[in-house]
Amino acid sequence: MTFSPELEKRFTALLTRYPEGRTRSAVIPMLMYAQDETGAITGEVIEEVARRCKVTPLQVDEVVGYYSMLHRKPMGKFHVQVCTNISCLLVGGEELYNHASKTLGIGHKQVTADGQFSLEEVECMGACSWAPAVEINYDFHHHVTPEKLDELIRGLRKSQ
């Protein structure tokens, strides 16, 4: 399968980063970057990464199942991840998650009908001192209140 030239460049760089003959090491970063471009880890992506890293598709499949950021089904264009782990929990993380769920009309790992948003209740993501925290795709938002979240979502809706 073909990827964008930028991604191809990244893959080439990745494959030379590790010691001689250790191309398997590139599997996880490759899957992450491939997912960003293709939206999900499909069987085709698995075969392709396996081929490039010189491992069996099964070895890639095993990895895909293990890591929580790798998805086999496409998430929304904006993947809203709300942390409810302890630091966030203490300052309203769970309420924030419930609010997000109501606003978007979807539950954990679900995608809105228009494919624009998906929601995920996530584990601690390293924003404890600025809780509650939300990560939308790869962007962090700190000290998020329900109002602030609504505003964020409104902004993203408009941005298309």
Binding site: R17, Y18, P19, R22, R24, S25, A26, V27, I28, P29, L31, M32, Y33, C53, V55, Q59, E62, V63, Y66, Y67, S68, M69, L70, T84, N85, I86, S87, L89, L90, V91, V122, E123, C124, M125, G126, A127, C128, S129, W130, A131, E135, Y138, D139, F140, H141, H142, H143
Partner: protein
Amino acid sequence: MAKLLFNQPSPLETRIVSKNFGLESSETLDVYLANGGFKAFKKAKEMTPEAIIEEVKASSLRGRGGAGFPTGLKWSFVPRTSPKPRVLVINADESEPGTCKDRLLIEYDPHQLIEGILIAGLAVDAHVGYIYIRGEYRYLIEKMDRALEEAYAKGYLGSNVAGTGFKFDLYTHSGAGAYECGEETALLDSLEGKRGIPRMKPPFPAVAGAWGMPTLLNNVETFSAVPSIIRDGGAAFAALGTPKNGGTRLVCISGHVNKPGVYELPLGYPMMKAINEVAGGIPGGKKLKAVVPGGSSCPILKADECDIAMDYDTLAKVGSMLGSGGMVVLDETTDMVRFALRIMRFYQHESCGWCIPCREGTTWLRKILQRFYEGQGRREDISLLGELSKNMLGRTFCALGDAAAMPTISIVEKFTEDFEKYLAKQNKSELVTI
């Protein structure tokens, strides 16, 4: 990229590793060099590897990743003369709930980290390093990559580091969402493109780590502390803390405090002072209920146990740990059943599933806590929670099992009354319905 809103510094801090935080463009090499950057590396280049390691030993620096292992000692385990090349691995997986400090070190001072890594490279004769950064920190990977690019461009990485002839290559490596990959050997498997399953020890990574090569693995903050140790001397760093607990560390204060944030405090800093003064006390004049001293894995402390100095040995004496520096403050309104449940949900989600006690233990404990929280608790569940946790403790393949068991044991034992309250509520509602 949204603008990050980090906390204001506190005047009570002793800023060593965070000294450049807040400087304009602190992430650039020029600013780093202008503030004394790479002096330590050049000094280290003139020292013997043994002398570098001695200096680190003298600093009493202990690993900032969680276990608090003496760093100099760890460096001395790496066989410098092994025929296999040595590898440095920098643990930037930062996933222990309550912890958010490595993030700042990479964001604000990546060249300090690079310098620390290079000094470690000199000490163990390694010429390549991999910074394993959790996948959620994608923006940080990008920032780190930019810093690396700059360092390469200006000759601070590559075949002739800072004109000294020392060769070193440094790369980032992305994780993909797994707490267990913070555990050093699981991290190595992940770095090798596999599921993050911990490895059997021995052999220890120092002897056979990444791709079977001798590997030195430390936390981001541990490496970041090294330049100042070499620059100003191990003794000076050690003197900041308490005996065997050298220097300062970044404490991430979160939860019920007025000014949550990451603050650099010397080891041995009074815990109550950190809560009340550094972090501005508990909002609404509420009383302290408990403190998680160093990330969710640490046994919890009751309010009356918190009048202590924050160093590894003191925490150990009260049966807890300094851990990763993630200090979570709980006020009197906190529901400990809910808190315990959330912790266990985390560990169940993150258990790699390799060994039976952790995989099944976390699941069972979570189910009991869930049921309890939903009003279906039984009196015998309280003791069962403790017993099952103890059946996990010390019997799992890696420390994740312990990390799940320890806080649970301490919560059930120290806050039994919270569980009793649930039973009492249930009984009443039963009376009403009958």
